[in-house]
Subunit: 134 residues, 2 copies
Amino acid sequence: MKLITRYTDYAIRALCFIAKSDKEVVSVPDLVASLKIPRPFLRKILQVLNTQGILSSCKGQGGGFSLARKPEKIFLMDLMNIFQGPFKLNECFFKMKCCPNTKTCLLRKRISRIEQYVIAQLQSITIASLLGSG
Amino acid sequence: MKLITRYTDYAIRALCFIAKSDKEVVSVPDLVASLKIPRPFLRKILQVLNTQGILSSCKGQGGGFSLARKPEKIFLMDLMNIFQGPFKLNECFFKMKCCPNTKTCLLRKRISRIEQYVIAQLQSITIASLLGSG
DNA sequence: GACAAATGATACCATTATGGTATCATTAAT
DNA sequence: ATTAATGATACCATAATGGTATCATTTGTC
């Protein structure tokens, strides 16, 4: 079980790199040189981040990407929503005719509590909080 | 993202049913009649639970399955280990040359803390605890 | 002993998600 | 005009998940 997929993971690395960079815009070649992420895959991820309002882009020679928001305003939860869909630990397989056995669906309640905790944690993680003392 | 898969989910339902039953052994037809789980799939799951020491089986006519341990001793964590492998939220994609950016791998630390919490919760859930006041 | 009813073992299959590639069009600086 | 970048989009390979099918074996009942 993975909490975050490669998409999200790569997005985080790329965003951290861009956040740390001195440059006005950071290009894919810049990123590929430092992070070892397959180029076409990285491009795809950056394009999604652009359309989702996390990054801004400049086309043409000398172009590249820059953060569309401050690192403090980019939450891990945002990235997971974009690349992994809404976070739910708790999807009942017997949709709405939940658990033949117990009316109260005790398992779902337990899982819901776990879910609430995890979401709270994820909402506290931002790109800024992952930059360290850099 | 699913915390538990259908295998685990069905296993839980079946075990709860068997735990509640008056009968000495519970057969697949008994289970299929009450829980709406595809018969061949359920059989497969029960066979695994048998080989893993969660259930005991009796072959032949009038045969079936019974719990090999008390419901208090069957943990959700056991079932997840069997059907989903060891629980890890935290697999680093850059195995051991962890995170080029930060030596300290701040993201992994955050995820580790979440993982510890989830595991503790999962270890507190048993079949007995899911039976309700039945 | 024959039969029926159960599990044991095992091979197979369809669908989906994940991770990744490839290609052509468009933009803009030189 | 050329070059170096992104935009858009279609495609693909692999693995995991969820599920089926089949035959062998055991055991109670007539």
